[in-house]
Symmetry: C2
Subunit: 248 residues, 2 copies
Amino acid sequence: MSSAPGPAREPPRYLSKAEAEAIEKELLEDYRFGRQQLIEIWGHACAMAVTKAFPLPSLPRKQPTVLVVCGPAQNGAIGLVCARHLRIFDYEPTIFYPKRSPDPLYQDFTTQCEKMDIPFLSYLPTEVQLINDAYNAVVDAVLGAEAEAAEGREPCAAILSTLKLIRIPIVSLDVPSGWDVEAGSSGGISPDVLVSLSAPKQCARRFLGRQHFVAGRFLPYDVQKKFELNPPEYPGTECVVALRAPRQ
Amino acid sequence: MSSAPGPAREPPRYLSKAEAEAIEKELLEDYRFGRQQLIEIWGHACAMAVTKAFPLPSLPRKQPTVLVVCGPAQNGAIGLVCARHLRIFDYEPTIFYPKRSPDPLYQDFTTQCEKMDIPFLSYLPTEVQLINDAYNAVVDAVLGAEAEAAEGREPCAAILSTLKLIRIPIVSLDVPSGWDVEAGSSGGISPDVLVSLSAPKQCARRFLGRQHFVAGRFLPYDVQKKFELNPPEYPGTECVVALRAPRQ
């Protein structure tokens, strides 16, 4: 509430994979949050983070294009919601969603984007210069914390190879694709922006990009306490906050 | 985007009951929005409107208390989500929800509030002075556009009698309770603040309160065009906007 500097805040805690799963389980089973509801909340928060990291007037290209690459599971669905809100915020998102889930919930999020005339790519250019030229940024909603099973398999392996080569900024949702939730990455993608969902995961300590946002404002206070999250202070009614100031 | 005055905008269109229902049907059936998702979006937007109409530092009482009165149907569920976000925004909501729906979706929204330690009143004081003294404002999420069937029946009739007598500001969600969606009201409650969901309904022309917010930023552009909504301009990433400046 006050703008006067208060006592120093404890830094937020970085979660293990088991802790992150326990929080999601508690939200779903004890608090009775719905998956549709959580994905909407997280996807909206990710779009808000993109608007903060890449404000419309700051974009280097004439068109406010953003490529949103969505994986087959929950992280991909959050990317779909992020794309929809980016469209509402006057960006021009394009979605690449090569492996669509048969889950009706994810299909509904897909329909919302399709009906809003957000274009879907039928393939990702292997010539990375085409991506560098066409978009201002890429949202990596490929794997998130669901990495292990899908990482080595197509189409994810090919996408990761492409993402490693591109030069435009990458915004990773929760866990950069291909990174281990706890150990992080060696030789993986290097996102410019990381948006941690609910709370940072341990791999975020290895994040060396420009801005690290946390999207956990919606969390019940008892969950924050039980898991000793030491959440950052969210100003006003903001749903995301940057953990460190951007390096200018 | 620009702060310079642009060409005059057409005023937003005020919807008939049939049009409002057609928009909701289109969102649910064609765009495949989920009810859980829409209620979350609307409830969050209503909480944002409350923070704009009654900023924390402006509240007359020491505690940032708000009474949220929830009816049995969808408007009540939106009130529950509004209360949850008000709690996240550091308000102290109290809920009165006398007739709980057996719908599992609404039960889940109720559980979220209960588990977040938002108090539920077991009865509404008939002595209105107790309400005037205890709360800074009342959110009327009783009937909304679902008025006809429930209005004359208990507990809604008693709640409306009480709301007519209280002196603290009322924030009505979508349609002030007891008002006809199109004709408005004679002798009904007189809210200070109205939050129109998606777009204003015809009754909003009779609204004489301080601030009229519209919470329709999420609407697909094609829906805005098809129903000729002429939506207001939402600044930045705001999900609600006031149609007229507050009378100071």
